[in-house]
Amino acid sequence: MIEIDEELCKGCGICTDFCPMKVLETSDKINKKGYYPPKAVKEDECLGCRLCELLCPEFAIFIINE
């Protein structure tokens, strides 16, 4: 399961660019700071590799493996 804390995001876009399955996409909603956080569009295709979790500089994404 992908958990995204939208208020921590600074919209750098690293997670959306480097996801190997392109699960994440920039959403069209803005957060309190004025950035566009990512949203999971193809959550069922997520491999659970945790690359986004480790690459995120803001601790905004967590992958919970079931």
Binding site: C12, G13, I14, L54, L55, P57, E58, F59
Partner: protein, 267 residues
């Protein structure tokens, strides 16, 4: 997240900065090793990368003067040999201003872990040229271009006598995390150079304004140390050599000091 002071988040780093990624890997490494953060002392100097453990990580932190974290860490390690002392600092901090401290701590083989976050520039003070700025890059203090050769810090520390030396980029998060765990376990001076993006102070002058530009550059230019044996220096000029440089056993400084004290004055 349990190792972090959540009340001060989001971090103060710029969007796209690699310091957050390093903090992320550091927290994950501590978590996977199952260490108690109360047993860790993080010593930092001045600069963007010195903000990595202090104030975000729930461990003891010592924010010291510019270029001198290794001198402070030496004192901490000698008085508290049971604690894990970790120095996180930038390239300008411990390779530029405190360069001699780095060489001599490695020579003594003091039992500390040093994570040097190399972002090619003095980022916090406005983008001045640092010893690791690549040749030809314009900076605030070299407005036309930098005419100096950059310093290869990992190779220097390996030659100075450290026990464990590695170089990774913020793109190689999994090997970096594993390397940090090895650095914690290693007795002796363990040093990891981490190449990190600085899209604000360094990148804006060379047209790399996003963190992704740097990560793509790391991905393209990085070459594993196992593959460089047959390549000439000219071929490697534009490449980033990553991997584990040195992993060896040498006598450790605090242990020798304690032994000597025991022999001479009996305590």
């Amino acid at each position: 997240m349990k190792y972090l002071r959540e009340e001060i988040f989001p971090t103060k780093f710029c969007s796209g900065c690699g310091c957050g990624t390093v903090l992320n890997c550091y927290a994950h490494a501590i978590d996977e090793l199952g260490l108690n953060p109360e047993n860790i002392v993080s010593v930092t100097g001045i600069g963007c990368s010195s903000w990595i453990p202090s104030p975000y990580l729930k461990c003891d932190t010592l924010h010291t003067t510019h270029g001198r974290p290794l001198a402070f860490a030496t004192g901490v390690k000698i008085m508290k040999p049971d604690m894990d002392v970790v120095v996180i600092a930038g390239d300008g901090d411990i390779a530029g201003i405190g360069g001699n401290h780095l060489i001599h701590s490695a020579r003594r083989n003091l039992d500390i872990s040093v994570f040097l976050v190399n972002n090619y520039i003095y980022g916090m003070t406005g983008g001045q040229v640092s010893p690791t700025t690549p040749m030809g890059h314009p900076t605030t203090t070299t407005p036309y271009k930098n005419i100096e050769h950059p310093m290869k810090i990992a190779e220097l520390v390996a030659a100075a006598g450290a026990s464990y030396v590695a170089r990774w980029t913020t793109y190689n998060v999994f090997p970096l995390m594993e390397s940090m765990q090895n650095a914690f376990k290693k007795k002796g001076f363990s040093f990891i150079e981490i190449l990190s993006p600085c899209p604000v102070a360094h990148g804006r002058k060379i047209g790399m304004r996003e963190g992704q530009d740097y990560l793509n550059m790391f991905k393209e230019k990085a070459i594993k140390i196992e593959k460089v044996k047959n390549l000439s220096e000219k071929e490697l000029e534009d490449r980033i050599v990553i991997g584990k440089f040195v992993d060896r056993e040498r006598t450790e400084f605090t242990e020798s000091l304690r032994k000597l004290n025991q022999e001479r004055i009996g305590k």
